[in-house]
């Protein structure tokens, strides 16, 4: 038997053997790839709930999975299930309901939602205060709501369905959660704890209160008309992000384990970098140091240099602050080369899929490598002169891409960067 393959740090190599994705552009890799490379937007007017009186009335919701009302955890679970079925199916690993690896899931924080609270309140006489709600709860007529609104519920159900091993992880690092799920899977494989990991980021939580909360923080675009033009990362007239929904799933596997079973290697998660930012709850350090450090640590973890990167899959939210900070940080890491290094934002078409974004964009990054085309940044009609980048404006570009840096930055000072590469040429 040949000696095991190791990365430049002497660790097991983490291969990707399955990918799955669902977004507002559709279900599956092909539907999404067609939309993304055609420069099509999945953002539309919200019909899930009334938008009267709201400043933002658009989102990239996924509306094709239920024909009944549902709570956010139900949609998050459905999205995750579909993405994971696609990824596990492609990997050919294990059997139905018997996935031989651990589960790492980025899931949105949950809480009881208004329709369910209203259902309790309708049977209460007098004020619907929490003591009255508690008395109604004690009737045990609403027992399923407990499981529905547990933080760990979605991951438990996914673990049940796919038969993953060990204790399922539910995690949040805000808008970098999807990338953190991948990073935790990478670390577990490098530790030798597991030969495979199912890493999922999912978010189906566009409801009235979630939208209003972001709206009150002035984080959302209010340019509702036309909806598909609202998300315009790196443009001068960008005015906030657009909420989106979706899920991305990756099957990660020890490279030698994948080789031994003759699996198709779709790529490698070569490096991960993360850095906290103690500057402010929503704003980044003005010097961009945490983002810069996260990118450099991801490259160092991959044993690569900035010159090795062919393309940056941007966090690119379309908020004034993020895009400026990200451009500045990338320029600090890549220097003069940044003027010609392609960087594009999938969020121009999908909106910001929040908890899912890091996983959704990792899937798209690996498709970019496999299919040699870079999805564009759409709605780029008024360049921001302070951000002189090659954002792959408006049209997809044919390009040979072997190494991608995928950025994720979140509230609470979360910065997570992944380096994704093509499969090694010589096994």
């Amino acid at each position: 038997m040949s000696s095991p393959h190791r990365d430049s740090h002497g660790r097991p190599i983490v291969a990707v053997t399955g990918l799955g994705i669902v977004t507002s552009l559709g279900q599956g890799k092909d539907a999404n790839w067609d939309g993304l490379t055609a420069g099509r937007s999945g953002i539309h007017r919200i019909e899930r709930f009334p938008t009267e009186g709201l400043r933002t009335t658009i989102a990239g919701t996924v509306d094709f999975l239920f024909d009944r009302p549902f709570a956010a955890p139900e949609l998050s679970e459905k999205l995750a299930t579909l993405a994971a079925e696609e990824a596990v199916g492609q990997s050919g690993l294990g059997a139905a309901g018997d996935f031989p690896g651990e589960l790492f899931m980025a899931v949105p924080p949950v809480e009881m939602e208004w329709p369910q609270k209203q259902a309790l309140a309708t049977v209460i006489d007098g004020d619907a205060d929490y003591d009255a709600l508690l008395r109604e709860a004690a009737s045990r007529d609403h027992r399923p709501l407990h499981e529905l609104f547990l933080f760990g519920g979605v991951a438990e159900h996914i673990a049940d369905r796919f038969g993953t091993r060990g204790s399922p992880i539910s995690l949040s690092t805000a808008c970098s959660s999807g990338a953190t799920a991948i990073q935790m899977g990478v670390e577990a494989i490098r530790r030798g704890e597991t030969q495979a990991a199912l890493c999922i980021g999912t978010d189906g939580s566009v409801h009235a209160e979630a939208l209003i909360r972001f709206s009150l923080l002035s984080a959302l675009s209010t340019q509702n008309d036309p909806p598909e033009a609202a998300s315009k990362p790196f443009s001068k007239n960008r005015d906030g992000f657009v909420m989106g929904e979706g899920a991305g799933a990756l099957v990660l596997e020890d490279y030698d384990h994948a080789l031994a079973r003759g699996a198709t290697i779709l790529g490698v998660v070569a490096g991960c970098g993360e850095r906290g930012d103690g500057f402010h709850r929503t704003r980044s350090s003005p010097d961009g140091k945490p983002a810069i450090t996260a990118m450099r640590e991801a490259l160092a973890d991959a044993g690569l240099t900035p010159d090795d990167v062919d393309y940056i899959n941007a966090h690119g939210t379309s908020t004034p602050e993020n895009d400026k900070m990200e451009a500045m940080s990338c320029t600090a890491v890549f220097g003069e080369r940044m003027a010609s290094l392609p960087i594009s934002s999938n969020k121009s078409m999908l909106g910001h899929t929040l908890t899912a974004a890091g996983a959704v964009e990792a899937v798209i990054s690996l498709l970019t490598i496999a299919r040699s085309r870079i999805p564009p940044t759409i709605n780029y009609h008024q360049p921001d002169p302070s951000i002189p980048l090659d954002v792959v404006p408006n049209q997809a570009r044919v390009a040979s891409v072997r190494t991608v840096l995928s950025n994720s930055f979140g509230f609470g000072g979360q910065n997570t960067c992944l380096v994704l590469t093509a499969a090694p040429e010589h096994a």
Binding site: Q118, Y130, G152, A159, S167, L171, R213, L216, F411, G412
Partner: protein, 376 residues
């Protein structure tokens, strides 16, 4: 090659007050629990002792931007950093990695009640809800509520610039937080971790979630393992954070080592009868041989089924050992329950109460965990 992992900092806050030494004394003396039976009747809770927040969170502006569970966690994290002698160590604070087990933010109970009452008669419920939420929600409230903002606030208040991760999922989040932190150091992926959780029991929105499923004890206090008359949780406001460090790093800097965290395991079952006992049995077996005189500290919830099964697993491992239920000391603190139990075990070992400790915990709905600690 696995490296030794040691505990060099303990931060503990509960209904009894704060500090590892104070809690070790409570374990030794068997001090009676502090229970508020009236404030949230018919649900007893263990209320948080008054804290001088300024001692760990000096800026009022920081205190204002947090909710009670976050202030509690930031406070306990500060105690752990102080105890480890790292609070002023800028280099260590840029190196340290944080894992927090967290739930989510507290509802504005008055606003929710007014909206729910109004919604029943609203001609256009959707528009009414939008209007009230736009007017009643505080913009900053959202940030105070985000699960990962306990970690974010720890970074801001204590000047930690290393990365953080937040695990969710009730009790099992606490188990997996400690397990992951231990595994990272043991495997050489990290030298220094801050891990823990915080729970505020004094909120009706969380009582509501658990009562929907029938998981709360009503009526008076009874010990965790003696609630057959009315099984269920009695929740407690509490937080624990631990500084975990590679033994090598701790020795090199001459740190006080409270205990060695030998190993941590986590599992899950579908909770058929007997599953919890079997799962904990497997996890305990995976920890290596447990000394006969080991102290057992259990994060059991008091809920029907799982609690008795956890007792059986402990009895099988330590037939003659001394057993303490964390819930009898500080109440059940959900995400923080397992970190609290590990912290209490470390405090007891540091105090010389035993040479070894076995920590167990089966969540109220899903998830089982176990850890073994050895006196340094």
């Amino acid at each position: 090659m696995r490296r030794d992992v040691v505990i060099t900092g303990i931060g503990l806050v509960s209904s009894h007050g704060e500090g590892a030494a104070a809690h070790a004394r409570i374990l030794a003396d068997g001090t009676a629990p502090i229970v508020d039976a009236a404030g949230f009747a018919p649900y007893p809770v263990h209320p948080l002792a008054p804290l001088e927040l300024d001692r760990q969170i000096p800026k009022n502006s920081d205190q204002r931007q947090m909710e009670p569970w976050q202030r509690l966690g930031v406070y306990a994290a500060g105690l752990a950093l102080d105890d480890a002698g790292l609070k002023e160590d800028v280099e260590a604070k840029s190196e340290i990695q944080v894992i927090v087990a967290a739930g989510g933010g507290e509802r504005d109970h008055a606003a929710d009640s007014a909206i729910l009452t109004g919604l029943r008669d609203a001609a256009s419920p959707g528009a009414f809800l939008n209007e009230r939420l736009m007017g009643d929600l505080r913009p900053t409230l959202f940030l105070a509520q985000l699960s990962n903002l306990l970690a974010g606030n720890i970074a801001i208040v204590h000047g930690i610039t290393g990365p953080s991760r937040t695990l969710m999922g009730e009790e099992q989040a606490g188990v997996d937080a400690v397990r992951t932190a231990h595994a990272r150091i043991a495997a050489g992926q990290s030298e220094l971790m801050l891990v823990g959780g915080a729970y505020n029991a004094e909120r009706r929105d969380m009582l509501l979630l658990f009562e929907l499923g029938g998981f709360l004890r009503t009526g008076g206090y009874a010990p965790v393992f003696a609630r057959e008359d009315a099984p269920g949780m009695i929740t407690g406001s509490a937080s624990a954070f631990l500084v975990l460090e590679s033994a090598e790093r701790a020795r090199a800097r001459g740190a006080t080592i409270h205990a060695r965290l030998a190993d941590v395991g986590a599992g899950r079952t579908r909770r058929a009868a007997g599953d919890v006992t079997a799962s904990l049995g497997r996890l305990i077996a995976g920890l290596g041989p447990v000394a006969a005189g080991a102290l057992a500290i259990s994060a059991a919830t008091g809920c029907a089924g799982a609690t008795a099964e956890e007792a059986a697993a402990i009895a099988a491992a330590l037939p003659a050992g001394r057993r303490i239920a964390t819930g009898d000391v500080v109440g059940h603190a959900v995400e923080a329950a397992f970190p609290l139990s590990v912290a209490l075990a470390a405090a007891a070992l540091a105090d010389g109460q035993a040479g070894e400790a076995l920590v167990t915990g089966a969540g109220h709905w899903r998830g089982e965990g176990a850890a073994r600690l050895v006196r340094a």
